[in-house]
């Protein structure tokens, strides 16, 4: 009876030996794998092209972003002077300088949107997804309500109530982002809370907070990161849209989206006023999404070291 399975009663030493030979692979090899992904490298390069000049704006700017020059309006782009590298606009302001400074507002605002909206939405989604039940139900119905609203209308309503300013525009767009984060994180959390390792962790005495922070959140991170890379790009456009309607950045503060819409009027006589900020915007968004895709692949637990 007993000899079916308990064949050799191994001494402790033999047991230990056999245990050691089980395949323990080197964990370091995959750490730099990300860099070997072509899309990731391209994305990083594109981001660097945009972000580094924006960060170095004061160094690379021979004039201020609001410095007007009545004698040099609508100058075509030329490489002779840094000021007119990308031409000048209707007030003779340097497009190059305004693009650099504008990037600070655009990128800064979109990062703020993602941080505020992403954090709030993720927190709601985690609580709703992990707890489920009545609490989860109530949270998700509020989220559904917000989702049912057209986003731009919601943002308009919020800025109309709070008053037009960049900060309020950021808050408005963040509120639009909250339900989208909450929904995807809730789905992930609901899936993760039933995984064997979460059950095992519960059986070891981990409380809800520990499980949410250590197991559910990291498990939901790939989804959050993808959503974030999408929203970093989308938020720039939304901030621009609100600016265009006079509810966001106030002139003369430069901001990419607003520069594009300002430049529209003179597109036929001076294409560069709208095209260069648009180009920076596009490169930024493409770079972000390439990096986001690569990060998502890297963070997918089933793909790790596979």
């Amino acid at each position: 009876m007993a000899d079916r399975i308990g064949e050799p009663v191994l001494a402790d030493g033999t047991l230990a030996l056999q245990a050691a030979e089980a395949d323990v692979a080197r964990p370091t090899a995959s750490r730099w794998r990300l860099l070997r992904q072509r899309n990731f490298v391209i994305g990083v390069i594109l981001l660097a092209i945009v972000v580094i000049p924006v960060l170095l704006a004061p160094v690379l700017s021979p004039v201020g972003p609001d410095t007007q020059n009545a004698g040099a309006t609508f100058l075509a782009p030329s490489v002779t002077h840094l000021t007119s590298l990308m031409g000048t606009d209707e007030f003779g302001r340097s497009v190059w300088v305004r693009v650099l400074y504008g990037g600070r507002y655009s990128i800064g605002a979109s990062i703020a949107v993602v941080v505020i909206g992403g954090t709030a939405g993720t927190a709601l989604g985690l609580v709703a997804g992990y707890l489920g039940g009545t609490v989860g139900f109530l949270i998700m119905r509020v989220v559904d309500l917000l989702l049912a609203f057209p986003g731009i209308l919601l943002a308009l309503a919020v800025t109309a109530i709070l008053g037009p300013s960049l900060v309020n525009a950021v808050i408005a767009v963040a509120i639009v982002a909250v339900p989208l984060y909450a929904r995807i994180v809730e789905g992930a959390a609901r899936e993760i809370r039933n995984l064997p390792y979460v059950r095992a962790s519960r059986a070891l005495g981990a409380g809800p907070r520990h499980i949410i922070v250590r197991h559910v959140l990291p498990g939901a991170m790939p989804a959050v990161i993808v959503q974030t890379t999408v929203w970093l790009g989308v938020a720039v456009l939304w901030i621009a849209a609100l600016g265009f309607l006079g509810l966001g950045v106030q002139p003369p503060t430069p901001e990419w989206g607003q520069m594009v819409s300002d430049g529209q009027a003179s597109l036929t006589i001076a294409w560069w006023v709208a095209v260069f900020p648009g180009l920076f915007l596009a490169v930024f968004v493409v770079g972000i999404s390439l990096v986001g895709d690569a990060l998502r692949d890297r963070l997918n637990p089933t793909a790790v070291g596979a």
């Binding site: 007993a2 050799p8 050691a20 323990v24 070891l204 005495g205 250590r214």
Partner: protein
């Protein structure tokens, strides 16, 4: 003065004085399904003494795993404990507030699950996970916890503990992961360790290693063990006592050698015959005809009645779990109080 009789009396006395680690009394665990209530566990009682080891055996669907999860307080909606008591060190876990149960889990009672790799988070190193399990209950620094983790891994026969601690779960074999989860479960010296099919997902040689480790731990530690398995031959290697379950009920319980040597309940006899035919030589494998009843359509009376070779009209009434003179318990009308005269021929191997 030191005759065997007085010795036995002394033991009985001390057993009376020291309460069992676990005392499950009349446990009923049900699940809501739509408007119906599915009764998965229906009045299960058993005890686990200090440093004792009890095996819960039965086919899939017998309610053994749900019994184990009930003891852990891990029954989640739509499941609930409908009735009964679960006394862990004399404290009733049924109706205990969730926060208190959380504190208790891992410290007083821990559990090892069937799927060893899935029971570990793929995102963290083994060391992080073992250390965290320690730090949930003990006030140690990260480094102290890691040192303790190293000792724990050594205790379950992992020679290269340092390297295993630095590995991710997917880099280890199933057997290695199961050693890790056993070590983790023992991290806070729980009085009771529940293992739910800990070797079922492993191949036979690894299974033997894990069973050896469990047997070894049993002799070295004071932790009591509840070992849940469908495989009676595995359970007998580890456990001093057996609880045979079927249809959410206890069919037979007693000391392992009693139950294996002379099974009283026809279901136990069937299980043993089937296990024997697997291990013993040639010929057709024996099985118990019929299927485990669906808990939604449980037959009245003895749940084994439809498959039982000795079924009789009386079996339509619930057989009580009655004590036999040799100290074990059987729930069958062939034995016990009223119809004790009828005996079943002992099962013969092969």
């Amino acid at each position: 003065m030191t005759g065997p009789a007085t010795e036995g009396a002394k033991n009985a006395q001390s057993a009376e004085a020291v309460p069992p680690v676990l005392d499950v009394r009349g446990l009923h665990t049900h699940f809501r399904r739509g408007r119906n209530v599915v009764k998965v566990v229906r009045g299960v009682s058993f005890r686990v003494g200090r440093s004792g080891s009890v095996g819960l055996v039965g086919e899939s669907g017998s309610g053994k795993s749900i019994t184990a999860l009930s003891v852990m307080g891990l029954i989640q909606k739509p499941g609930f404990i409908a009735d009964g008591q679960i006394l862990l060190d004399g404290r009733d876990l049924v109706g205990m507030p969730a926060a208190e149960l959380t504190k208790l889990r891992g410290r007083d009672v821990a559990m090892v699950f069937q799927e060893p790799i899935a029971a570990l988070n793929p995102l963290y190193h083994i060391g992080t996970q073992v250390a965290e399990a320690i730090r949930v209950h003990q006030d140690l620094t990260k480094n102290q916890a890691l040192e303790r983790a190293r000792q724990l891994l050594a205790m379950v026969g992992i020679a290269d503990a340092g390297r295993v601690l630095r590995s991710y779960p997917h880099q280890l074999s199933g057997g290695m992961c199961q050693r890790v989860t056993i070590a983790t479960a023992l991290a806070n010296d729980p009085g009771l360790l529940i293992m739910d099919e800990p070797t079922t997902a492993l191949d036979t040689t690894i299974q033997a290693q894990i069973l050896d480790i469990i047997a070894d731990l049993k002799t070295r530690l004071e932790t009591a063990i509840v070992f849940v398995s469908h495989d009676i031959s595995v359970v007998t290697q580890v456990c001093d006592e057996l609880v045979v379950m079927y249809g959410g009920r206890v069919m037979e319980s007693g000391r392992t050698e009693q139950v294996i040597g002379s099974p009283k309940h026809p279901y136990t006899q069937g299980l043993i015959t089937a296990a024997m035919s697997v291990s013993g030589g040639t010929g057709r494998l024996k099985s118990i005809p019929g299927e485990v009843p669906d808990p939604q359509h449980m037959p009245s009376g003895c749940p084994f009645r439809p498959r039982c070779p000795h079924a009789m009209p009386q079996c339509a009434a619930d057989p009580p779990l009655s004590d036999l003179p040799d100290g074990r318990q059987v729930a069958c009308w062939l034995h016990g109080s009223t119809t004790g005269s009828t005996t079943v021929e002992e099962v013969t191997p092969l």
